[in-house]
């Protein structure tokens, strides 16, 4: 009996939520600029994901006979100072951005941030105090310095670790595959990526935990995990989505900055930050590259620019659509 009742309520709940999201989607689609922005972001990301299929060259392939050339039929966006194809390197750089964004979002904001926010807000007491104090210590650091400090000091350790794994398993290529770079960036971004989300979720949960429907669920003996994930979590999804859409641009930019300073993705693997650094005299190139061929900056910078701009527009629209009262 209880089982049947439960099932019914679940299906009706699902139906309810489906039409809610359909409504949200149709409201969002009506905002032309936001919709176009989302399409642009989607296009950029898909370029990165299918990079191996649509590349015209190898991203490492140099061509000394043809350096610093403008666009032509062979190199669609021209070549850099080593004669590498800029188009190919940009789409592979986007792939780096996609990987870093996805891992940081999932591990940091979504997994750590949401779970800790749920725990802190629901249980309060010392769990809440502990999590909040840790977060406060971390956010007392100037963001970008902390990221750079972590990346610079942890990189050699992580590379050593990867080498040790290679030695003990008799495999090679772990270090050269770029996984280490992703790991370094991921670890460096992790401390900063969860706190904002955690505070947001915590605030929502603090008001929800005393809501009547949660009290009712507790009264009929619903287990705590079920209350947390089944009753409370669905109600914090909207602000989480808004916050994620605003945060993605910042994550992408952090990777670009790290790689720009030579602390993120290592050459020859391409990253938008590495490409920018190579032209603006950070990566051993002379200033003359910037002076004579500033157009080489255009492709990577426009991608970064578009990503940040479009995610901001999307975030604004989602905020309007999902939190109509907060306007």
């Amino acid at each position: 009996m209880a089982n049947i009742l439960n099932k019914d309520s679940v299906t009706s709940e699902l139906k309810g939520s489906r039409s809610h999201w359909r409504q949200v989607w149709s409201n969002f689609r009506r905002r032309r600029l936001a919709f176009i922005s989302l399409v642009i972001v989607g296009l950029i990301y898909s370029l990165g994901i299918v990079a191996p299929l649509i590349q015209t060259h190898d991203y490492q392939e140099t061509n000394i006979a043809k350096t610093q050339q403008g666009p032509d039929h062979e190199n669609w966006l021209g070549t850099d100072r080593l004669g590498r194809d800029i188009y190919t390197r940009v789409i592979w750089g986007i792939q780096t951005t996609v990987i870093i964004t996805a891992t940081t979002l999932i591990t940091g904001s979504l997994f750590l941030g949401v779970t800790m926010g749920l725990l802190a807000g629901y249980f309060r007491g010392w769990i809440d105090a502990g999590i909040m104090r840790i977060g406060e210590v971390i956010s007392a650091f100037p963001d970008i310095l902390l990221i750079i400090l972590l990346a610079a000091t942890l990189r050699p350790r992580i590379v050593d670790l990867a080498r040790a794994i290679e030695d003990s398993t008799n495999t090679t290529g772990l270090v050269s595959s770029g996984v280490v770079d992703y790991l370094v960036i991921g670890v460096a971004l992790l401390p900063l990526s969860w706190f904002g989300m955690m505070r947001l979720v915590r605030g929502q949960v603090l008001t929800l935990r005393d809501a009547e429907y949660v009290e009712a669920a507790r009264a009929i003996g619903t287990s705590t995990p079920r209350i947390l994930f089944r009753h409370i979590l669905p109600n914090v999804v909207s602000p989480v989505i808004v916050s994620v859409s605003f945060g993605i641009g910042a994550i992408a930019l952090s990777e670009v900055v790290l790689s720009f300073f030579g602390l993120g993705v290592q050459p020859p693997r391409p990253s938008l930050g590495v490409m920018i650094g190579e032209v603006t005299a950070r990566g051993g190139a002379s200033v003359s590259v910037l002076r004579d061929h500033p157009e080489q900056l255009l492709a990577p910078i426009i991608v970064v620019w578009l990503l940040i701009f479009c995610w901001n527009i999307v975030g604004d629209a989602l905020n309007d659509v999902l939190n109509p009262r907060a306007r």
């Binding site: 210590v137 100037p142 310095l145 750079i148 000091t153 050699p156 500033p294 910078i301």
Partner: protein, 309 residues
């Protein structure tokens, strides 16, 4: 509220001690022996050992940490590992001044563009001007510094020769113009956004309608009632802008060759100059924490309604 502020005040030193310990700990995790780095190619095992002993590097971490805190409280932040014989304070002082000037100049740019434009956009709500301002500001905001800095240099310095391309000579020299613009333009975009939002909020208040109803002139209403009240939340933002000079202008200082605090911290990270780095991070944390505290306390003074809660 008083209890809240007192608790904050008590927690602040603990927070700073923890932050300092974290940087200290990172220093031990970091590869490279400071003694070896300092001796360079004169490093023999005996010399390294002697220097390590001299610098106190052989002591356990907690002891070194306590020693550092002890002398830091007396205003002595130690000596740089890299710049021989220079105290950390003498390295940071002049650079802090440079960064402060740079950020003040940038804030002036940001405020003088951002506030009027945000106010104007709010006043034009419902017309096409408002979204046009908002979107063009968002475009400027999203523009990466990697783009603005090199292209401003290329255009105004290399091509037109109006201003020098790099260097620093105080905030009133021509060299300050480009870096101030580079930081100020995205900053202006943020101010526009917030000024617009808070102006809209104030315009909707009843006392504005009352002011209109009793026949006050538009000018007086706009400037005495709307703009002044709309500016209050912006103060918060300004506090954080100034506290954010640690690392905030990193790329700008690098590209324009400005000897500021961000540049120093980047060098310290790369050269493993941990005494300098610890001091910088600590200073940055102090500024952020203080900004937070002052803003919180300031709000309760400005807005009596918050005190009642």
């Amino acid at each position: 509220m008083l209890v809240y502020i007192l608790r904050r005040l008590l927690w602040t030193p603990v927070l700073l001690l923890l932050a300092a310990f974290f940087v200290f700990f990172m220093g031990t995790v970091a590869p490279g022996d400071p003694a070896e780095l300092r001796l360079g190619n004169r490093a023999t095992p005996e010399r390294v050992d002697r220097l390590r002993e001299q610098l106190g590097l052989n002591d356990p971490l907690p002891i070194r940490y306590m020693g550092f805190i002890g002398s830091a409280l007396k205003g002595d932040l130690g000596e740089s590992y890299v710049f021989q014989g220079k105290t950390v304070t003498s390295l940071i002082g002049p650079r802090l001044l440079v960064s402060l000037q740079l950020n003040i100049a940038a804030s002036i740019v940001a405020l003088s563009v951002g506030l009027p434009l945000g106010f104007y956009a709010a006043k034009r709500q419902g017309t096409k001007t408002d979204p046009a301002i908002v979107i063009s500001m968002l475009i400027l905001y999203a523009m990466p510094v990697f783009f603005t800095a090199p292209f401003l240099i290329l255009f105004f310095a290399v091509k037109l020769h109006w201003v020098p391309a790099s260097g620093w000579n105080g905030m009133f020299s021509t060299q300050a113009i480009l870096p101030a613009l580079t930081i100020g333009i995205p900053g202006a975009a943020i101010f526009v956004r917030h000024m617009r939002a808070s102006t809209l909020e104030v315009i909707g208040q009843e006392y504005i309608r009352t002011a209109h109803a009793k026949g006050m002139s538009n000018f007086v209403i706009n400037y005495r009632h709307v703009a002044r009240n709309a500016f209050l939340p912006i103060l918060t933002l300004l506090g954080f802008t100034l506290a954010g000079i640690f690392g905030g202008s990193l790329i700008v200082e690098l590209i324009y060759g400005i000897p500021g605090i961000s540049r120093l911290s980047l060098d310290a990270i790369f050269q493993r100059d941990f005494p300098v780095l610890t001091a910088l991070v600590l200073l940055g944390s102090v500024m952020l924490v203080l900004a937070n505290l002052v803003i919180d306390i300031g709000y309760t003074i400005i807005d009596p309604r918050i005190r009642l809660k």
